[in-house]
Structure formats: structure tokens, C-alpha cells
């Protein structure tokens, strides 16, 4: 190998090493920070891991919202009309949070199977249903009326 080729080879190896380190670090960071979505049925059947940050979504069950009179603690159930999961949250709920509304909660499951939410999301349109929720409901065959097409209009 001529010295010039050797030099080029070194450069190529150097670039390849750099790129693979960058890709590796990126994928590592990505894996540390993804939040998987689980439906209430999946959570009830024990598919969701405990003490890991996950997303869970469903419709807020009528009459399930309980507030603590002295703080901002609130407890409510979400359902995919098959199974329900209890969510606990401390803080201010979004404007569109109400009974019968589709929401997504981000948080971790504790030993009792209760989701400690760090964040509750309800999006900015009263017809809006988070796609994950709509999907989970459709799978359970429990899409409420008006039909799914009417949502997200």
C-alpha cells in the first residue's frame, strides 16, 4: 500500500469510527427516552412494566374523579371499556380534562397497579381523541359514538 492510500484508509477508518460512535450514542439516548404506550387492558393483564415511565390512555370514567380537599391531589379512572386503570396525579389538569374525554397520562405504575402520573395530556380540541386512545378503543371494539371518524375531524 502506498503511503497516500494508507493515509486515505486511515481517514476512512477514522470517519467510520466517529459515525458509529455517534450512531451508538444516539440510539442509546433514544432507548433511554422512549415512552411506550399501553392500553388499560394491557396494563390489567400485567403487560406493562412497573416503575418505568410509560404512557397510558383511555376515556375518563364518569364519576370517578376524586379530589383531595386540601391539595391538588386528584384521582380518576381511565378505561377502554374493557378494563380500567386508576390514575393519581398532583397538579393542574389540562383545560379539556373532563369525564368522558380521551386523555393520555404519562407516568409509572406502582405495585398496586395505580399509575402515578407526572403529566396528563388532553389535547386542544373537544372533538380530538389521541390516536393511541382511538386505536386502543377500536381494538377493544368499543369506539364510542359518534364513530371514530367523527373524532379528529
Amino acid at each position: 500500500m502506498t503511503p497516500k492510500r494508507k493515509q486515505r484508509l486511515m481517514i476512512v477508518i477514522f470517519i467510520l469510527a466517529g459515525v458509529s460512535v455517534a450512531v451508538g450514542l444516539t440510539l442509546f439516548a433514544l432507548n433511554q427516552n422512549i415512552n411506550l404506550f399501553y392500553s388499560p387492558t394491557q396494563i390489567a393483564s400485567g403487560e406493562a412494566p412497573q416503575n418505568t415511565r410509560i404512557r397510558a390512555g383511555g376515556m375518563v370514567v364518569d364519576g370517578s374523579i376524586k379530589r383531595d380537599p386540601d391539595s391538588l391531589f386528584v384521582q380518576f379512572d381511565i378505561t377502554d371499556y374493557d378494563k380500567t386503570v386508576t390514575v393519581e396525579y398532583v397538579g393542574i389538569l389540562p383545560d379539556l380534562f373532563r369525564e368522558g374525554q380521551g386523555i393520555v397520562a404519562q407516568g409509572s405504575l406502582n405495585e398496586r397497579g395505580v399509575l402515578n402520573a407526572a403529566e396528563v395530556l388532553a389535547k386542544h380540541d373537544e372533538n380530538y381523541m389521541p390516536p393511541e386512545v382511538a386505536d386502543a378503543l377500536a381494538k377493544a371494539g368499543k369506539m364510542p359514538m359518534p364513530s371514530g371518524q367523527e373524532f379528529n375531524k
Binding site: 439516548a29 422512549i34 404506550f37 404512557r55 389535547k123 373537544e126 386505536d135
Partner: protein, 652 residues
């Protein structure tokens, strides 16, 4: 009224003109037919005119409360004030697309009018490519999302109202500015494609393309900043950037466009990086289209995702494939002809701008990966997931700081070759000063050493000081310093201003990220809370009536160090037409801090959940963006872009 039909009709005419525009001048340019090439300008004017007529028809339908038009009925209401009825034109998917094509034809018109001194065949090719891209968007509107469809025979007497979130000044200006940026990159793209088509891959096209790219970039910067500002005060959370996929969709072309601007500078001045610059121009516009696809196709969960109509998503996807595939194919055929006109050593301004490009492109790739990863995983049926802000922060922030470090070095390097001694000579003082200044200002503010804040401040000082040092160096040998300052070019000051904007924005980001204080509290009338020298006294709420909403208005008395300071009135509004509840935050703005109060939900006994925030230096983020915008516009207005063309035509 027959106006909506007139709107459709003139849109169809605009489509026909765009087809002619795509065919005739391009064919003329390839056959050397001057007459055909000359058709470019009048066709562009006609295309703009008919698009404008169509747009005015839609505006009139909104102002006139013509609820027989489906789009008007679902996005407006007769109780809306007239200016919101007008901005509701782009409050939904169909209308915002019409705005998009209006701006697209506006840019085409601008190129047609402002390119008097360019060679005829280049103008013909650029306009032709703009026409080609326009065809796609006209077809998209006419086939999948016409804003002029009617409810016939029966139509509602009242409209469904504009989403209350969008009833706001921010929305009036945010989409047009953003679209000016997105579509502006179509001009850079058209210049790059025209250069490839003509086979004249000299540095001249870079000079023609530069002012257009700078203007597009400036608008995009402004549009993103307005979006961030709007989210800050309107969503009621006090956040200014969420790493939401739709925000990312606007950041991606911005990053590629920033890289493009710098790469264009090298190509123009030194005649190197030619193929890379062409590639960046293709990427910047493709990422704009990708942004449009992500937002319009409904694959994303977001405020911006108007429609979940699979046809629309498919249409944009096909367009994306055609544009990217076609331009990359052309690139592959022609890139081999590009030859560098000069060489440079390892330590030179060319190398530093290459570093800038590498960092920006890597950052862009990381954001892209994080944004589309959930979509890919979902499409492969591997489950549903979302990528959280920690991913973006962990990867993007170090890149941004690295970029600032390189920025300082790049400012003082010379073209072609820079001696190591020269570099050392120019950099030791800024380096020596920025360290204690950065550490000192962080300490003065907070009394502690938060590593990221200290680093950000040091680098901000570094950028400012190297910039000032470079400016001083330029006038050092002049006898009259002031005249020396005045004789620097506009594009030079534009660059300095934009770089200053980077430093200012980073200071804002660092402070607001680390020293924001937030308290969520259940408050009864008379309850108080004190933090950061401010005391918030909740005085209860009262009922108020707005034009199309009713609201509970909280009254909060603010004391500063015990003295009365301000009265804040956050609201919880119920928009009656849609029955939608909205938080209207009260903000006490300041140069070094914002006080931000929002009402949560009503609790028993007149108590409210109240969110109070202290946000230091948050305005600096948008101030920085404004400086960058001003810098971009100033650079683009440099007379040398026009002068040189004149001398060229004189010698030609």
C-alpha cells in the same frame, strides 16, 4: 354569492398557468429559444394574480359569514371579531394550504420581478422549477382539500367557530411568517436545480441564491419564534419549546437552511463545497415538505394536526418522493461535473464553516431521527411510543454549545489559510475574558455554579467578544475609526447581528431552563404565596363576559418585597360556540424576568388551583431570534448583490 365558485375557477386557472410555467420556459431554456424563455415572467405574474383572486374570494366568504361554504362554517362564527374572521382563513387545513400557494406564487413573482440582471436562461429555469413545485400544491388543493366546497342544499345558519386557541394575534402572524420561510426555501431549491439543469455549475448561482436564502431563513426564524411565543402565552403552561414533532418539523428546515446559508457563503467566495451546497438546498426544501407532510397528514398528535385524511397524507408523501427522488437523480447525474475552483488548508475559514455545517447537519439528523422514530416503529407494527424531551435535550444542547465554540473561532479565521499564530493572537484575549465573565455573570445571578449555565454563559460571552474583537480588528488601522465602522458592508453587520442573536437566545434558554420557579397551589381568596421576592395574593374571582366567551377572572395582587407592585388577572374562559374551556394566562413581562400566572380549575368554596411562575430572561430567547431575523434581512439587503449583477451585465 358566486364568489366561492369564482375562487375555485381562478385556482384552476392558476394551476393551468403553473403547468405552462413548468413546461414552456424550461423547454425554451433547453432548446435555447429566447421567446419561450421569456414566457416565464408573464406566466408567473398571471399565476400570482389568479391565486390572489382565489385567496380574496375565500377572505370575502369569511368576512361575509358565508356559512354555505363548508370550510367557513367549520372554522368561523358570526360572533367573531372581523380580524379573527380574517385570520380564520388560515385557521384550518384547506385555507392554510391556500395561503401556502399564495405565498408560493408570491415568491415566484418576486423572483420574476427582482431578477432583471440574471441571465435569461437561468431566470427561465428557476421560474420553471417554481412552476413545477406549484403544480403539486395546486393539484393537492383542488383534488383533496378545496376550501370552497359548499353545503348544498341546506347549510347551517351559524358557524362552528374558530378554535379558541387560534383566536389570538400570534395566530394572525405566525403561519404566514412560517410559510414565507418554508416556501422561501423553494427559491433556493429552484436556483440549485436550475444550476444543475444548466450545467453551469460555477459559483455564480450561489451569489444569486444567497439573498433569497437569507430572506427565507429570516422569515423562518421569525415564524418559529412567533410560534414559540404564542405557545408560551396561549397554552397556559409557560413552556416555550416542547420538542413537539410539529415544532421539530419547523426546526429541521431551519437547521438545514442555516447550514445552507453558511455553505453558500463558501461557494460564492471560494468556489468550493459546490455539490454539498446543492445537496443542502435540496435537503432544506425537502425538509420543508416533510414538515408539511408531518403536519398535514395527521400522523402526528398535535394542535397543528388538522386532518386525519389518509388521501392527503398519501398525496404529500408521493409529492415528497417525486421531489426528493427527482432532484437527487438529477444531482447524481450532474454532481460529477462540479469542480472546486480553489483549495484550502486545514486551518481556514472554509474548514471552520465546514465544521459549522457538519454540526448543524448532525443536529438536524438527530432531531429528524427522534421525530420520525415513533412513526417508523408504529408503521412496522412494533408498538406505540413517544420520544421525550430528554432525548432531544441530551443530544441537541451539547451540539449547540459546540457550534458556538466553533463560531467564535470561525469569526476570526481567514479564507484559504490561517496561521496558528494569527489565530492564537486573536483568540487569547476573548478566551481569557469570556471565562471569568461567564462564570462571574452566572454567579452574580444565582450565587451558584450550575455547569450548563456557566458553560452557556461563557460561550455566549465568547461569541460576543470574538465578534467585537473582529470588528475592532477591521477598523484598527484606520485613522478615522467611525468611518471605518460605517464602511463595513451590510452583509457583514448582518452576520454580526445574527451571531449576537445566537448568544442572546442562548442566555435566555440557559436561565429560563435552570432558574424558572413554578408553584402549583390550591388557593382560597386571601391566600398568599411568596417566592423570589414576589408575594402573590389571591383575591378571589369574578365573572366577566367577552364577545364570544364567558370567563372567570381571578384577581391576584402582586407585592414586590412587600410593596404593591402589580395586579394580575388570569382568566378561565368558556367559548360558548364550541363549549371549549381555555386558560388565559396573565403575564407581567420584563426584560430580565416574566411573572406568569394561570388559573387551573375551580375547586370548592371559591378556591382555585393556581399556577404561578417566575421565568428569568425568557424574553431573551425571542429577542435573540429577532436579532437573527434582522441580521438575515440586513445581509440580504446588501447592495453588492445588485451592484455586481449590474457590472456583470455591463461586461457581458
Amino acid at each position: 354569492m358566486i364568489l366561492p365558485e369564482l375562487g375555485t375557477y381562478s385556482l384552476i386557472l392558476a394551476l393551468c398557468l403553473s403547468i405552462l410555467l413548468a413546461v414552456v420556459p424550461l423547454a425554451g431554456a433547453s432548446r435555447g429559444n429566447t421567446l419561450w424563455m421569456g414566457f416565464g415572467r408573464p406566466l408567473s405574474k398571471g399565476m400570482f394574480l389568479f391565486t390572489l383572486v382565489s385567496f380574496i374570494c375565500l377572505c370575502w366568504a369569511f368576512l361575509d359569514n358565508d356559512f354555505s361554504v363548508v370550510y367557513v362554517a367549520s372554522n368561523s362564527n358570526s360572533a367573531l371579531p372581523w380580524y379573527y374572521r380574517l385570520s380564520a382563513v388560515w385557521g384550518g387545513h384547506e385555507g392554510s394550504l391556500l395561503l401556502w400557494v399564495l405565498i408560493m406564487s408570491g415568491w415566484t413573482l418576486a423572483v420574476a420581478v427582482k431578477s432583471r440582471n440574471l441571465p435569461t436562461d437561468i431566470v427561465a429555469r428557476v421560474l420553471g422549477v417554481m412552476g413545477l413545485v406549484s403544480i403539486g400544491f395546486y393539484l393537492f388543493i383542488l383534488l383533496t382539500s378545496s376550501p370552497f366546497e359548499r353545503y348544498l342544499p341546506g347549510y347551517p345558519v351559524e358557524g362552528a367557530d374558530l378554535n379558541p386557541l387560534l383566536q389570538d394575534f400570534g395566530l394572525i402572524v405566525h403561519p404566514p411568517m412560517l410559510y414565507m420561510g418554508y416556501v422561501g426555501f423553494a427559491v433556493s431549491f429552484a436556483f440549485a436545480i436550475a444550476a444543475l439543469l444548466s450545467g453551469r455549475l460555477d459559483a455564480a448561482w450561489a451569489r444569486w441564491s444567497r439573498p433569497w436564502t437569507s430572506v427565507a431563513w429570516a422569515f423562518l426564524t421569525l415564524g418559529i419564534a412567533l410560534g414559540s411565543w404564542w405557545a408560551y402565552y396561549e397554552l397556559g403552561w409557560g413552556g416555550w419549546w416542547f420538542w413537539d414533532p410539529v415544532e421539530n418539523a419547523s426546526l429541521l428546515p431551519w437547521l438545514a437552511g442555516t447550514a445552507l446559508m453558511h455553505s453558500l457563503a463558501v461557494t460564492e467566495k471560494r468556489g468550493v463545497f459546490k455539490s454539498w451546497t446543492v445537496l443542502l438546498a435540496i435537503f432544506a426544501f425537502s425538509l420543508s415538505l416533510l414538515g408539511a407532510f408531518l403536519v398535514r397528514s395527521g400522523v402526528l398528535t398535535s394542535v397543528h394536526a388538522f386532518a386525519a385524511d389518509p388521501d392527503r397524507g398519501l398525496f404529500i408523501l408521493v409529492m415528497l418522493v417525486v421531489v426528493i427522488g427527482g432532484s437527487l437523480l438529477l444531482y447524481a447525474l450532474r454532481a460529477g461535473q462540479m469542480k472546486s475552483e480553489s483549495s484550502f488548508s486545514l486551518l481556514s475559514r472554509e474548514s471552520m464553516l465546514l465544521v459549522n455545517n457538519v454540526i448543524l447537519v448532525v443536529a438536524c439528523a438527530m432531531v429528524l431521527l427522534g421525530t420520525i422514530y415513533p412513526l417508523i416503529v408504529d408503521a412496522l407494527g412494533l408498538g406505540k411510543l413517544s420520544v421525550g424531551p430528554p432525548y432531544f435535550n441530551a443530544l441537541f444542547n451539547p451540539m449547540a454549545l459546540l457550534l458556538m465554540l466553533a463560531l467564535g473561532v470561525g469569526t476570526v479565521t481567514r479564507w484559504r489559510q490561517t496561521g496558528f499564530r494569527h489565530l492564537l493572537q486573536r483568540l487569547w484575549l476573548p478566551a481569557l475574558l469570556s471565562l471569568p465573565l461567564g462564570v462571574g455573570s452566572a454567579w452574580l445571578y444565582s450565587g451558584e455554579f450550575e455547569p450548563w449555565v456557566v458553560l452557556s454563559l461563557c460561550l455566549s460571552w465568547w461569541v460576543v467578544l470574538t465578534g467585537l474583537g473582529e470588528l475592532y480588528n477591521r477598523v484598527r488601522h484606520r485613522s478615522e475609526k467611525l468611518r471605518g465602522l460605517l464602511s463595513q458592508s451590510r452583509s457583514y453587520y448582518g452576520m454580526q447581528l445574527a451571531h449576537l442573536g445566537v448568544a442572546v437566545a442562548v442566555v435566555g434558554v440557559a436561565f429560563v431552563s435552570y432558574y424558572t420557579e413554578q408553584r402549583d397551589l390550591r388557593m382560597l381568596p386571601g391566600d398568599t404565596l411568596t417566592f423570589r421576592d414576589y408575594t402573590f395574593v389571591f383575591e378571589g374571582s369574578r365573572h366577566v363576559e367577552g364577545p364570544n366567551f364567558t370567563a372567570d377572572q381571578g384577581r391576584i395582587q402582586v407585592l414586590y418585597k412587600g410593596q404593591p407592585y402589580a395586579q394580575m388577572s388570569p382568566e378561565k374562559r368558556l367559548y360558548t360556540a364550541r363549549g371549549m374551556v381555555m386558560t388565559e394566562a396573565a403575564i407581567n413581562p420584563g426584560f430580565t424576568r416574566d411573572l406568569y400566572v394561570a388559573l387551573g380549575e375551580p375547586l370548592e368554596n371559591g378556591a382555585w388551583a393556581v399556577r404561578m411562575q417566575y421565568k428569568p430572561y425568557v424574553r431573551w430567547i425571542w429577542l435573540g431570534a429577532l436579532l437573527m431575523t434582522a441580521g438575515g434581512l440586513l445581509a440580504a439587503s446588501d447592495p453588492r448583490y445588485r451592484k455586481r449583477r449590474r457590472t456583470e451585465t455591463a461586461t457581458a
